[in-house]
Structure formats: C-alpha cells, structure tokens
Subunit: 332 residues, 2 copies
C-alpha cells in the first residue's frame, strides 16, 4: 500500500492534528475526541450546526467548520460512523442555548449514532433537531443504507442551513430550510477505480482496465452498473439524465451545480464534465446561478466524480450566496 | 487510458470552456486563444499580472485569475509551454496602461516564449517586466530547465505581487516585491507514481510498487532519487531538511507553509504531512503565520505532494493576508 501516512491506525488522529495546525484561526479540536468545532464555540444566541461521518471524505466535514456553515464536525474512523459519545461532545461544545441541528448523511450507522447522541443531549436539556440527507439518485437501497444515500449534496445543506443559522433564525426555521434543500437537491456519481482504506491495505473492489462503475457510493459501495468507459460527455449525460428524471425543473428555473471530484480526478476532467453539464442545462433552458467545481466530498484517492443539482428559489439563492468563511469553502 | 475526457486533442479547449461556464463572475476567455482574463479587463491605472504555462497543473493558473491575484492566465497544451502569440494576447487584453508583470515558472520553453511575447508587447508600447520563479530546491538543472525549476511556490508570487498591484503600486515596485518572494520561497516535492498525459496515453515513468521518487518535477521530470517508500513523517523530514538547508530562517522568524497535493493525494495525507511540518517548525522555534493545504499546483492525477516554505517579513505578511477573490483562492 503506497500512502503518505505513518501508522494506518493513527491516520484520523494525525490528520485532525494537522488540520488544527493549519487552521487555528477557524477551529479547535476537543481534547480526547475526534471533534473539530469553531474556535469561538459556543456562540451564544445562535443555532449551531453539527455534521460528520466517517473520515476519508475530506474536506467533508471538518473543512466546513467556520462562519456561515458548520459549528462542529465529528470524524469517525475511515469510512466508519463516529460513535454517539463523540457526536454528543460536539453537540455540547457548540450549543449556545438556541439548539443544535444535526446534518446526517443517510447511512445506517450515521443515522443510528447521531440519533442516539441527540437523545443523550436531550437528557442534558439541549434542544436538538436532525435532518437526514439522501441526495444520491443512483440506488434506492444500498449496502449501508435503507433508502437513498447521502453524498456531496450535503455540502449545500451545510452552506444554506449554516447561512440561515448565521442570520439568527430559530432551530425549527433552520431545520425547515435544511429540509427544503434536501427536497431540492439530487446527486449521482461514477468511479474509474477503487480507493484503499489504510487499515484494509487493499482496494475495496476491482474494475477492469476499461471498466467504470456508475452510481457508486462514496465508500465504494456498489452502484447501478459496471460498464465500459465512455466519453466524458456520454457519462455526464448519463448521470444528468438520471438526476433530471428524479426532480422536476422547469424552463427558466434556476439551479446550483456542483461537480465534485472523488479524490484523484484532475480538475481538468471536472471542468470538462462541467462544460457538458452547462450545455445540457442550456438546451433545457434551465439557468445555472452558481457552479462549484472541485473536491468537496471525496473518497480518499478514488478517481471519479459526482454531479449535484440544487433547484433554487429566492430564499435558497440568497442563503447560498451569503458569506461563508471556512477552511474549505469561502465566499464573499 | 481511463480518463474522464472526450478527445485527448481537445482537453485544454474543453476545460477552458468548462472553467468559463463555472466562473463567469470572475473571468472570460479570449476568443480563439487559450487565455483566461479577469472579466473586468483591462483595469485602468493598475499593474496587471499574467502567468501561465502548460496545462495539467490546475487550478494553476486560471484558477488564480481574479481580485488580488492574476489578471490573465495563458494555458498551453498539457505540460507544454504556451506559444508567444497566446501570451501576447493575454498581455494586450489586460494592460490598463500601467504595465504588465509576467510571472514565469523556470522552464526553458516558458521562459523563451514569455520573453518573446514581452518583446512583441514592447513593440506595441506596452510596458512589460518579468520575474522567473525557481523555488524547487530538488535539483540544480533538470530535464526542461537551466537552473532550478519553478513549482508551487509560484502561487505565493501570484498572491503577494497580485496584492501589491491591487494596492496601486507601480510596475517596478510590483516586480520588486515579486522578486522578494522568489528570494524567500523554497519548495520540494515527491511522488508515488506517474500521471498520464492524455495525448500520450500512458504513464510518463514507472515506479515499483514500493518505490517513490524524491524531488520530482511537476511534469514528472526526474528528481533526486528513487527510494523505498517510508513513513509520511520521514518523507516530510527529508523534504523539509533539504528546504531548510537552502534558506536561512532564524529562531523567531515567521513563515508561510504550503502543503500542495499533486492531484491524487487525499487531503487526509496532506494534513498528516502538515502535522509533521508544524512539529519540525516548532522544534526550530520558527513561527508559522499562514498554512495552505490543498491542491494548488498539480500534475494531473499524480499522487504525491510538495512543501513550500516562504520566509515572511512585515511587507510580505501584509500582502499575503490581503483580500483575494479568485475561483481557487479566496481570502477575506
């Protein structure tokens, strides 16, 4: 296994230490926990957002801790849900008295452990609400999921619900806008190869030299089909068709687009995908208001990408364009 | 060759189209040229910065076109210098009457073609100055270089000279501060594997399953040595030793650190490297004022990383922390 690591057992701890060294102006680590929180936590009088999940998806979620996005991010072991006690510590550290919204990607372990933490926090008289993101249109149920998986569209929930919290909205209102984003976002991805989880030391699955996997999850869980590699335009069209079959977007409506790299995809290729996404939307007379191209939710060094489409209305548009200042997402 | 592309011949054109679709608020493409310039070009009364080089290093350099950094970026074919006519068009498009500074990475082709463009621009009565970045301490001469190569440290020149230009300084002053950054920045990288140039269709070099290349250039040109893979800490120490041997930094002095991914390196691994960089600097009592971790100058999907260290003084610190707003580098 060729990786730039020390001991596979310590990758998450060492990564978090490296994050704190890099971004002390944004965040701090809770002693003894794999939890990153805003440096100025708890912030009185504002709803706080907590997200997290297995590690290996960086910059998700620690990279989004900062003004206008998350207050706390909980990091499990690689591709493994964080335990409830870790989530509970995050909740306790960020609650400023106005409650905490948990943003959970729909994976069975994540949902269970975040819910358990929410119950424990309630016993400590902290108001906690949760939303479960299930944007991946590829498969209805999956290896680790009842229902659809939560993938890169989650970043839009961080951004928009985070902006709503920053505005001073109440917990129920922040939850409501998060649910609206979930209602309006769809994603789908594909991969050219597997990645290697450090503790496993070998690839999670095998693809032939000319084979790709369509609709693959961010932990390498099986997708819709394995097929021969086609052109970027053809694959983009394939993913976009599936996404646009699943959500009604009318002519003249506006969307935000995220072309997300899974870890080892050159930015060049992501932009080639984006070119086709723009062409498809133009033909449908759907207006792209915002485009994000880059590595937002990765699968270690997996080569591949996902596309997320978020249907906008005036409220979502305003919140999406609000200021954000985090290590991995900055917007004036 | 498994790549998310259409025709290998069109990757640069299609990428640039995708960039413009994604970031119309920042930049536009010059018709018929592989040149991206600030949307509001030319900006009257300010010195303009132009950089560029072969494609495949994204987000370098188009991603840095915007407020406080570059005014124009010229994209050659993959790993191939842009031609003088392309550079000339960029110069003409961005000159606002106060002159243009060319930021050139030290590769023979780049230097030759940018210089030729500068001479042509001078005939059009445009004031042009140039600086040549040679931050890579790995090798004194290289496959494509007389003298040291210019690598990721170049991004610091874009940032700092860009901020100086934004302040309204004259061309000679902007050039002077760019030269100061070049004087103060050192970089070195290593790689776990080669990348595939689309038009070539195969890897540029071969490494064994347990072998890495130390001091490799951003086009895969040979480095200092091939050796067995070691731990992240050991490799980081090896690169840092070479960098710190080359530049005198005293106890109590301040630096900026860039841990740069070459394209396929998980952010997790870059942060593990950063942890060790911080530890080394702490032991030497050198203060890290700013840290940048991410993909700033890549080599397509090459797995590996580079470290850049910039010695700061008050002027550089102030300019480094000035506002920047570009697709790939934003700072409040």
């Amino acid at each position: 296994m060729k990786k730039i690591i020390n001991n596979p057992e310590n990758v998450v701890t060492e990564m978090l230490e490296g994050v704190v060294e890099a971004h002390p102006e944004y965040l701090k680590k809770l002693d003894g926990f794999h939890v990153l929180v805003r440096k100025d936590s708890p912030i009185k009088g504002k709803v706080a957002l907590v997200s997290g999940g297995g590690s290996g998806h960086e910059p998700s979620h620690g990279g989004y801790v900062g003004t206008g996005m998350l207050n706390g991010a909980v990091a499990g072991e690689v591709f493994t849900s964080p335990t409830p006690d870790q989530v509970l510590e995050a909740i306790k550290a960020v609650d400023g008295g106005k409650g905490v919204l948990l943003v959970i990607k729909n994976y069975t372990g994540d949902v269970m452990n975040f819910e358990m933490a929410a119950e424990m926090a309630a016993m400590d008289n902290i108001k906690v609400e949760k939303v479960v993101v299930n944007d991946d249109v590829a498969v209805e149920n999956s290896t680790y999921t009842a229902g659809r998986r939560g993938v890169a569209g989650t970043v839009f929930i961080h951004k928009i619900a985070g902006a709503a919290a920053e505005e001073g909205r109440d917990l129920s209102e922040v939850k409501k806008v998060a649910e609206k984003v979930i209602e309006n976002v769809r994603s789908m991805g594909m991969s050219l190869d597997a990645c290697i989880v450090p503790a496993a030391g070998k690839k999670g699955f095998i693809l032939e030299a000319d084979e790709v996997e369509i609709g693959l999850g961010i932990h390498g869980e099986p997708g819709v089909s394995k097929e021969k590699i086609k052109t970027a335009d053809e694959h983009t069209e394939e993913l976009m068709n599936k996404i646009l079959e699943d959500i009604q977007i009318e002519k003249g409506e506006e969307v935000a687009v995220m072309v997300n790299g899974l870890g080892a995809t050159p930015l060049m290729e992501l932009y080639i995908v984006n070119r086709k996404v723009a062409e498809i939307m133009k033909a449908k007379e759907i207006k792209i208001a915002n485009t994000f191209v880059g590595n937002f939710m990765t699968s270690l060094e997996m080569p591949g990408f996902s596309i997320s489409i978020l249907k906008l209305d005036d409220e979502l548009k305003k919140l999406l364009n609000a200021k954000a200042d985090t290590p991995a997402f900055k917007q004036f």
